[in-house]
Symmetry: C2
Subunit: 337 residues, 2 copies
Amino acid sequence: MLFLKKKQINAIEVAKQAGVSQSTVSRVFTPGASVSEKARRRVLETAKELGYRPNALARGLITNKTNIIGLVMREIQNPFYPEVLEKFTKGLRKRGYQVLFVYAEKDELQHDDISQFLEYNVEGVIVTDALLSSKVVSHFTENNIPVLLFNRYAKDFSGHVVCCDNYSAGKKIGEYLLENEHCQFAYIAGDTNTSTSRDRERGFREALYHEGIEPKVEVGNYTYEGGYQAALQLLKSDPQLDAIFCANDIMALGAVDAVKSLGLIIPKDISIMGVDDIVMASLPPYSLTTWQQPVDEMIEASINILLGEISGENEGPVSILLPGKLIERQSVSTFKK
Amino acid sequence: MLFLKKKQINAIEVAKQAGVSQSTVSRVFTPGASVSEKARRRVLETAKELGYRPNALARGLITNKTNIIGLVMREIQNPFYPEVLEKFTKGLRKRGYQVLFVYAEKDELQHDDISQFLEYNVEGVIVTDALLSSKVVSHFTENNIPVLLFNRYAKDFSGHVVCCDNYSAGKKIGEYLLENEHCQFAYIAGDTNTSTSRDRERGFREALYHEGIEPKVEVGNYTYEGGYQAALQLLKSDPQLDAIFCANDIMALGAVDAVKSLGLIIPKDISIMGVDDIVMASLPPYSLTTWQQPVDEMIEASINILLGEISGENEGPVSILLPGKLIERQSVSTFKK
């Protein structure tokens, strides 16, 4: 199974020609390693002469540092996630790390889904929009490979978590709708098994509970079609509804189109609100009032935490909840007092 | 710079305990390598007892086969590309390959953008929606690393190309609009530097030329806002326009909203058409007639060509142009004869 490639100049030859040790050569090409300026210059000149290309695999084996981060994504087609992928990749690249990308089919990752992260000696793992069983997590932690959950958390999860403060968002959304004199509320949940949806619902209910109000609830499965059908169902059983809070924008788009299909006018007859502030939320046919997740801050925090642990700085699992902000467009009626 | 991890059982210890050579152990864990059934069983049992985990880095160095494919994407947020990423990742995974993901900022990739592909000894490179200079391509071909352009091509490109037949699509779109009795045409180009946009325009012009018609052209830069502004500009200088063909759906969405903002009705007053069939094209406010790219076939062809060359089957650069198909919705007026 040997595949012959053009003979590569290796570190030994460079070391010989430059008159330094092989480990000096390795350090020159390892980001962050310390080496004297004189030796660095000599090695780089020699490497250039010989056409030497650093071999990250060899370096990874020798130093036990591959500079690879494993990134798992599930809902890559939900417009929230391509932005997340782009920003993680750029942010990690700036810090000298490569991304090994895995697409996960199910919400709970099994060992097989990410076994290659262990085989390729990734230095850290980021999981977006999915959960890991504690058995899978321990495969990594036993090997001192930090794991970070992005936009999700789970009880008994022993790794790091960076999330939007979804409970607080749900509560502020409830308060905002109450301030604007809505009385009959509904909530379209994403997936009742995920922390994001459950927390948004908890916060929303908490705000309404103070006014003695309980929302109707339907499940939309985080899809456009799910949001569409859920909205039709809600209006069928409760034509007096005047506000629907959807756990994400994709479902809110469906709810908007469902409501319009019934001949109702938004926001005059009914207000619709979402979460995420995806690009489509800003398009004129939707002009969705929504809750913007602090994506940039979440990504920066995730990278700092993960790389911090890799370099031995952290003392234990870190959980960060970041607030987002309200983006007011035209899908919620507001009363200027 | 040594990062201590839990001591890993290595192949030497497995070999010793199983009573075989180290290269036998390596072959047992190298997909496709040949080894006797008896030796395989003994090695696997021993590995399990000792808790041995194959090290893909070591295997990559020894066999010169890393099972990693480098994938570069630029427009990851254009909804066409998350679908492409998901399908490539799944398709390559089925064939035993991992994806090292790079996000590219500019349309023409420089050496720095993808130098890590060489450092990590990827076995092949897929570039979507961007170009490589021939200098960059030669870095790979000199090392027998095949390069494939997906959804783009360039003159003098020495690698493989898999593309939608954009010229033919543009021509069929022109013919379709002519059959449906449109007379005053405009084309909103994406980026006149890319093969996709140029070919769509060439085919479109070719169809209209036969009827002695020449379309007006504006540039929309493949963005919603670009499409919106381009449509306004076109209608300002030519209010008699009755058909606008947009080089992609994102711009077509902008054109639809711009046209509506002028109080015009689609398709009664003017027809709008796009390319890609992104999810948003099917939403009721747009209901866009569009040209669907044969994504599944393009991805399967790309994987087959790339892996074919990696295993030494291909004889030279392969170029494949695949036809797409018309998706009729409600943004183009049609005359039933």
